[in-house]
């Protein structure tokens, strides 16, 4: 009993340390974006605490650049990537879950081949195709391209979630009168919702801060990461920090919303069985 509580405390300590390591850079980001520059960037040893709050950085960043259009473009692309990825990964994972396990695992490994190729190598030839198809600078083109990289991982995660569902649950549903597709979408998908939520979140995030495809396929109507990049190269570090803070807000919101589905399957889902 005693030992158990001690282990529990140890767990909390470790979790706190890990959390601090991850949160610290984010904290600095918010600190810089909310403080006047003379307390942060202009100091040699800037204070770690927020002493003076200002929205000036945000205001100048958001007024000086066209922020709203890239923001909406990024949101559209990210949600489209999430949706496209699930639309393909769910049936793909279901098919793989029915196959011989070894063969399925081999196929998954091959799926990841797409991720081994540098994005640049893929982006240039497909941008030529998109120009021909009249899709250059469009939301759909960018989303399709980014989905190329999100689908393998999403398929892998959802495959793990499907494999974790006992086979007889699906068999029972078939015996109880369900067809194959109905079983997949009304029974198995809800049962695998944790894995699917993780797959969606990771796909969404990948798209949200994806740069290479965005800059090549959509240079005239850019997404947020491209705007931030332009800011940093132009030297306005404070405004870039403000932008970066804005970018991280939807990430935090989405993670919190999907958190209740996740409960630890983040990693185990893809690795069980």
């Amino acid at each position: 009993m005693k030992r158990k509580t001690r282990n529990k405390y140890l767990l909390y300590v470790v979790a706190s340390v890990v959390a601090i390591i991850f949160i610290y850079p984010l904290y600095i980001l918010f600190l810089v974006s909310f403080s006047p520059t003379r307390y942060t960037l202009d100091e040699l040893f800037p204070s770690q605490l927020l002493s003076h709050i200002t929205l000036a950085n945000f205001i100048s960043a958001l007024t000086q650049y066209n922020f709203v259009a890239p923001m909406f473009k990024s949101l559209e692309v990210a949600f489209l990537v999430g949706a496209l990825t699930l639309a393909v990964a769910i049936p793909a994972a279901y098919g793989l879950s029915k196959m011989n396990k070894r063969l399925a695992n081999l196929i998954v490994v091959f799926l990841f081949m797409a991720n081994l190729v540098p994005a640049l190598v893929i982006a240039i030839p497909i941008s030529a195709e998109f120009i021909k198809a009249g899709l250059f600078d469009s939301v759909i083109a960018l989303a399709l391209a980014q989905s190329l990289f999100t689908m393998p991982l999403a398929t892998f995660i959802i495959l793990g979630a499907f494999r974790a569902i006992p086979k007889d649950i699906e068999n029972q549903a078939r015996v109880d009168g369900m067809g194959v597709l109905r079983t997949l979408y009304t029974l198995l998908t809800p049962l695998a919702k944790a894995g699917i939520a993780v797959a969606f979140l990771l796909s969404w995030l990948t798209s949200w801060d994806e740069f290479t495809f965005a800059v090549i396929l959509s240079p005239l109507k850019p997404t947020l990461p491209v705007i931030v990049y332009i800011n940093i190269t132009e030297g306005s570090l404070v405004q870039a920090a403000a932008f970066a803070a804005v970018i991280s807000i939807p990430v935090i919101v989405l993670t919190v919303i999907l958190q209740k589905y996740i409960k630890g399957v983040y990693l185990s889902g893809g690795l069980t069985g």
Partner: protein, 330 residues
């Protein structure tokens, strides 16, 4: 039985996994209203047979005919056969009510109708109080009833139960068995159920099919399986003790049950190897001169090595391991 309607018929049914033949050319007719048990050791294809009947596994050859209709190529949802899996396979994302109502919801039945049917089934199985419970919070016995109720709300042509009592303790198992029989009598439906425990087949079934290595060795009432097993394998498999055999000639054996022998007198002899208590009856496990192990009823434990005389009131003759006839000694 002859004039009764055939409910399900299996014709030359064969199923292989890779090179392994799991069901070997099975032919079987089961009649309306039967409570048919499939009995056999582990790994002989009992579950596979049910899975082929219900359509989860495809047969490699042969056909399944239900109510005169060939269903071999139909998917499980088109066969109108209900099945209770060994694992119960309850839907973890629904409560007890949701689980039982599930087949009716799929059939797009009217909501009030569903409620009525679920309540009836729940009452029949004595689980009305737990309808709102999560399935993670009910006992193994309750889970089994929920799985059974879910099968019962439909009006299927046939019920298949795969080791429905295996997760219950011995006492509950006994009452569950009786309840199954009552259920069959009330509904008049046809049940096929799988077990590897012969005590589960002795008094509730109409017939028992003894499956061995993908083939039915014998299909008969439990009484006949015990008294006149058609092969020495069945004789060995059925009964609390395997049938005792002694040699008659080069290819003929004499087989007998413990209670068919009278110990203490007679011309045959055997040496006591162990005393064994089963229930409150003592058995003598003995070895004959030519090395056969036999079982006799003995009213008290004796010293190991004692020579016991015995004679037979009744015995079976087997030639090349196949039943020939039963002999009653006057």
């Amino acid at each position: 039985m002859k004039q009764k309607k055939v409910k399900i018929e299996l014709k030359n049914l064969t199923k292989k996994f890779g090179n392994k033949v799991v069901l070997d050319n099975i032919n079987l007719k089961i009649y309306e209203g039967e409570l048919f048990a499939i009995l056999g050791p582990s790994g002989t294809g009992k579950s596979t047979l049910l899975r082929v009947l219900v359509g989860i596994e495809d047969a490699d050859s042969g056909s399944v005919i239900v109510d005169g209709k060939d269903v071999t190529d139909l998917p499980p949802n088109k066969r109108n056969i209900a099945m209770v899996f060994q694992s119960y396979a309850l839907y973890p994302n629904m409560d007890v009510f949701g689980n039982i109502a599930f087949p009716l919801k799929i059939a797009r039945m009217d909501k009030q109708e569903i409620e009525k049917k679920v309540n009836t089934a729940a009452k029949l199985l004595g689980i009305s109080e737990i309808l709102k419970s999560s399935i993670n919070k009910i006992s193994g016995g309750q889970k089994q009833r929920v799985a059974l109720a879910r099968a019962l709300v439909r009006k299927p042509a046939l019920f298949l139960l795969d080791e429905p009592f295996s997760n219950l303790d011995a006492r509950v198992r006994f009452t569950a068995r009786e309840e199954l029989k009552k259920l069959r009598d009330n509904l008049g439906s046809t049940f096929i159920y799988v077990t590897h425990d012969q005590r589960e087949t002795s008094n509730i079934t109409t017939r028992v099919g003894v499956l061995n290595k993908g083939k039915f060795e014998q299909i008969d009432s439990f009484e006949n399986l015990y008294n006149t097993p058609s092969t020495t394998w069945v004789a060995d498999f059925i009964g609390n003790f395997p049938m005792s055999f002694i040699s008659k000639s080069k290819d003929e054996l004499i087989g007998f049950r413990p209670e068919w022998a009278v110990a203490g007198k007679g011309s045959m002899t055997a040496k006591l190897v162990t005393n064994e208590l089963s229930g409150n009856i003592n058995y003598w496990m003995c070895e004959t001169k030519d090395g056969h192990m036999i079982t006799l009823v003995g009213n008290m434990p004796l010293k190991v090595g004692t020579e016991i005389h015995f004679k037979l009131k009744k015995y079976n003759i087997y030639k090349n391991d196949t039943f020939v006839k039963q002999v009653n000694v006057k």
